[in-house]
Assembly symmetry: C2
Homo-oligomer: 213 residues x 2
DNA sequence: TCAATCATGTGAAATATTTAACAAGGGGAG
DNA sequence: CTCCCCTTGTTAAATATTTCACATGATTGA
């Protein structure tokens, strides 16, 4: 957060910054060292002013008359978002979804290290999965500070999501991602993000239906 | 789409409607037959006018002085979104993520039937998974119209996403959900939704970092 | 039947976000 | 060194979305 400039940043901006990183990393892989906001905009399907405005919230990263140095810009965006370091995560609910996430090594690559896995199923507790021992959630409170766990990932069934959230809050976790389709209540200072694929399926179904009339 | 009233509907509204359905179904399960916009608003962490406005895009579903009949409202929202029917989906890429989705029976429950699974790996082609035979993507073009496949779900590695999209477009699919972290190009009339968990992880990391200053 | 009550649906006001337009400034050719 | 070109950063205008405020209409009980 080296050069933050502005007060409130639109939620939508954060989403777009994630897209910019994705596209910039592909550009870099293809050998592009420099890019203009105009070209980046086309690749991201947004307006070029939008990109310049989004970046302006955090600082000045470009060179007038030239554009942005791709590697430098990636670094700057990551710094701005606070993802220029490793975040340690705790996953609760090692089922279908939880296991898929544990096997997915992009988490590590992108700076989110799932350092501990919890499940309340006695058959699972004590077993090892992806080189993590599955632990009972009651141990969260003692393990979280010990291990420096900061973000909780909930992948329990929806009717267990609140319970899982309670464990996380109790363990002083600082933010929560909830994959279960259920709202949870936590203290206001703990940010919660809901991941629900069905949002997107609904949006597609709606757009298809619209275009069809 | 029985009683559509308005022209353009904000994207954010669609996202909220998905949340309303989620919360309403829980309310129904808990035995609530009627609910006011005020109470629903609290459960969804939004403003009550927002709810009334969102619903007003599609029609009048409430009763003044009373509120909304929960079951009726669920039905109305589903009709409005075009999810009051079964959508047949094709999944491309039966790896880690694709397999988790195939095993996840909420898709069926929510009206999205994954009717066919494609993968280009010779070791996987011909195998059966979750009672679906895994098929080579070159067969998409012939199978899609036969089976009435309408929505494509991409779960290939990112560098294969465009190829998968091409197969889907070629097969006259009507909409695409892309789980791979890569932008894809398709004709303008085909809606694409990108699912990327990292958006949410970034958002959490950012909010934690902000609150920390 | 009528009045009191209550929560919706909606137009108008307040905010927020996106887009356009351009002044400012870096880089390179001559 | 100067001029010209190019693209950023930013201010201002245009849109879009959210919130407020209240008239409207359904329901209930006297
Ligand atoms: N699988 C998918 O593709 C998918 C897709 C979207 C959403 N989801 C959501 O993700 C969640 C998990 O789905 P799944 O398919 O993995 O289900 P699952 O039943 O396979 O796994 C759930 C796991 O959570 C554990 N659990 C239950 N209560 C717990 C508690 N209080 N503390 C700790 N662990 C607990 C169970 O023992 C089980 O291992 C669900 O809410 C589901 O709706 C899954
Ligand atoms: N696993 C997760 O939890 C997770 C989370 C977020 C995003 N993703 C994304 O989902 C995608 C899939 O991830 P994964 O972990 O399942 O990877 P994976 O390697 O396990 O599976 C990819 C599958 O796609 C198949 N495939 C490759 N090219 C293909 C083509 N042209 N046509 C058809 N099939 C093809 C492969 O044979 C393989 O079976 C990746 O883009 C990944 O970034 C996965």
């Amino acid at each position: 957060m080296s050069q933050m400039k502005s007060e409130h940043i639109p939620k939508a901006t954060i989403g777009r910054l994630a897209v910019y990183i994705q596209v910039l990393e592909n550009l870099l892989r293809d050998g592009n060292d420099v890019i203009s906001s105009e070209k980046l905009a086309r690749a991201c399907s947004v307006n070029s002013s939008q990109i310049r405005k989004d970046l302006a919230y955090f600082g000045e990263f470009g060179v007038r008359g030239v554009g942005y140095y791709v590697q430098e810009l990636i670094t700057s965006i990551k710094q701005s978002l606070g993802i220029d370091r490793i975040w340690k995560c705790a996953l609760i609910g090692v089922g279908n979804m939880g296991a898929a996430l544990l096997r997915h090594h992009d988490f590590e690559k992108r700076g989110f290290h799932i350092a501990a896995a919890f499940d309340c199923d006695p058959d699972k507790i004590g077993r090892e999965f992806e080189s993590l021992e599955i632990v009972c959630p009651t141990h969260l409170k003692e393990q979280a500070p010990e291990m420096g766990l900061e973000i909780g990932i909930i992948t329990t069934p929806p009717d267990r999501a609140q319970r899982a959230a309670n464990h996380l809050v109790d363990a002083n976790i600082r933010g929560i991602i909830n994959f279960a389709p259920a709202r949870i209540n936590v203290p206001a200072h703990i940010p919660v993000e809901y991941v629900d694929f069905f949002d997107h399926l609904y949006a597609i179904a709606f757009q298809i239906t619209l275009g069809n009339d």
